[in-house]
């Protein structure tokens, strides 16, 4: 399953991921100064064939990923998900 570059960027904004430009766009999620999850996307505006991999790196299940892409998952919701998984 693919993810569009703009969808990824929207996810980054919505969850307030920090980013750094390298060969790829690197993105990571911080809570209280700790880096909890990280992911990346290739530069360019096309479809990225790795929604599954990005989802795994962000520790989301398919339903949660759909919510995140559909803009109904907030940063607080994401923190709750990570806390439930014992990552916080």
């Amino acid at each position: 399953m693919t993810i569009k570059a703009h969808e990824f960027d929207h996810l980054v904004t919505k969850l307030q991921l920090k980013t750094r430009n390298s060969k790829d766009l690197l993105a990571w999620f911080e809570v209280d100064g700790k880096i909890i999850t990280r992911t990346r996307r290739s530069k360019g505006s096309g479809d990225l064939p790795m929604q599954h991999s990005i989802r795994q790196q962000l520790k989301l299940n398919e339903q949660q990923m759909s919510k995140a892409l559909g803009c109904t998952l907030t940063r607080d919701d994401y923190i709750d998900i990570l806390r439930t998984k014992g990552l916080l």
């Binding site: 060969k23 700790k34 880096i35 999850t37 990280r38 990346r40 290739s42 990225l48 790196q57």
Partner: protein, 134 residues
């Protein structure tokens, strides 16, 4: 009866085969049946062991298991134990992308060691067993 068969029968040793027969066996054993065409992409390998990340700063000490999958026209290479991936239009491109991602991951986690959450701490420990600075 061919000369080779004659030799086997006379000596009891394995028959020496003609060059044509040897060539045919070589083709059967070593040439993939599907090399791919313009319409049909080359079949990707299931898994390989990666022994280099193509970066002068880092050395792979223990091979990294890489699993390949295909999504449409793209090939995805995934280092399962590191939860890292690369992609491209071919196996080679995907592997190169993955190697770059692993280098980036190593250098980032090395730099941020003090700030890693439990999951990334786990990834960092795995990385250190597989890769070291030269």
């Amino acid at each position: 009866m061919t000369p080779a068969t004659e030799i086997k029968q006379m000596s009891g040793a394995p028959a020496i085969q003609s060059p044509e027969a040897v060539s045919m066996k070589f083709q059967e054993l070593h040439v993939p049946r599907n090399l791919g065409t313009l319409d049909q992409p080359v079949v990707v390998p299931g898994e390989v062991l990666l022994g280099s990340v193509r970066d002068g700063r880092l050395r792979v000490y223990s091979p990294i298991r890489v699993k390949f999958t295909q999504e449409g026209q793209h090939v995805i290479a995934e280092a399962v134990e590191l939860n890292e991936f690369g992609f491209g239009n071919s196996v080679s491109e995907a592997l190169t992308d993955l190697q770059h991602a692993i280098v980036e991951l190593y250098l980032t986690l090395d730099k941020e060691q003090e700030r890693l959450g439990s999951d990334l701490q786990d990834v960092w420990e795995k990385l250190q067993k597989l890769i070291r600075v030269r």
